[in-house]
């Protein structure tokens, strides 16, 4: 199986409530990424895990959390959703050591109301 799976496909959340998005891969890739995609904008990197090391972008540092309890699984957590979090969230994985291609999931479309 060479896919990245994301759950749920669609997520509706209320302002101020937490949101947890899930991503999994079975390719034993060492690195997993989360991107945010808004209409007419480029996918923007939020954070990535290289093995167990989390790297977060400076401008989104306080807005998003993540965990990677094992190699296959990575979550994206929003503690208190705001309207500006409405977007498509794309998960990707790759193996940095072997310089593999990126594999992307189908995304989770989050709507905050």
């Amino acid at each position: 199986d060479t896919t990245v799976k994301q759950n749920p496909r669609y997520k509706l959340a209320r302002v101020g409530k937490p949101v947890n998005l899930i991503c999994s891969q079975t390719m034993n890739h060492d690195t997993m990424y989360w991107y945010q995609k808004k209409p007419n904008q480029a996918p923007k990197l939020l954070l990535f895990y290289y093995d167990k090391i989390l790297n977060r972008e400076a401008d989104t540092f306080e807005k998003f959390q993540s965990s990677r309890p094992n190699n296959s699984f990575c979550s994206l957590y929003i503690g208190s959703a705001g309207l500006e979090y409405s977007a498509m969230y794309l998960c990707a994985s790759r193996d940095r050591v072997s310089n593999s291609d990126y594999t992307f999931g189908s995304g989770t479309r989050l709507l905050v109301i």
């Binding site: 990245v4 994301q6 990424y33 991107y35 007419n40 904008q41 480029a42 996918p43 990197l45 990535f48 290289y50 790297n55 794309l90 990707a92 940095r96 291609d101 990126y102 992307f104 999931g105 189908s106 995304g107």
Partner: protein, 111 residues
């Protein structure tokens, strides 16, 4: 900073016609460049990639791209577009530990 720019937000072509989608890059040194396609309700799929070498790279489904250092470009081409090519196309560049993307070009195919 490393980046890519896709100047055309939307391109419309007739089925069977040729296609070029533009991508300009900004990079110190020789970049690694990529084209992805996103079909409706799907994730990004890799079409092709450029690693330093032959400037023309072949991809899936008849797509190819040409790297030009003098023009800082990596344009995507296809000789004959099919209706199933209707999608959004993203150009990307390796930027250290992750990929940076352009804003995408939405391709519409008309009869």
């Amino acid at each position: 900073a490393q980046s890519v720019t896709q100047p055309d937000a939307r391109v419309t072509v007739s089925e069977g016609a040729s296609l070029q989608l533009r991508c300009k890059y900004s990079y110190f040194g020789t970049p690694y460049l990529f084209w992805y396609v996103q079909y409706p309700r799907q994730g990004l799929q890799l079409l092709l990639k450029y690693y330093p070498g032959d400037p023309v790279v072949q991809g899936v489904n008849g797509f190819e791209a040409e790297f030009s250092k003098s023009n800082s470009s990596f344009h995507l081409r296809k000789a004959s577009v099919h209706w199933s090519d209707w999608a959004v196309y993203f150009c990307a560049v390796n930027s250290g530990t992750y990929q940076r993307f352009g804003t995408g070009t939405k391709l519409q195919v008309v009869p």
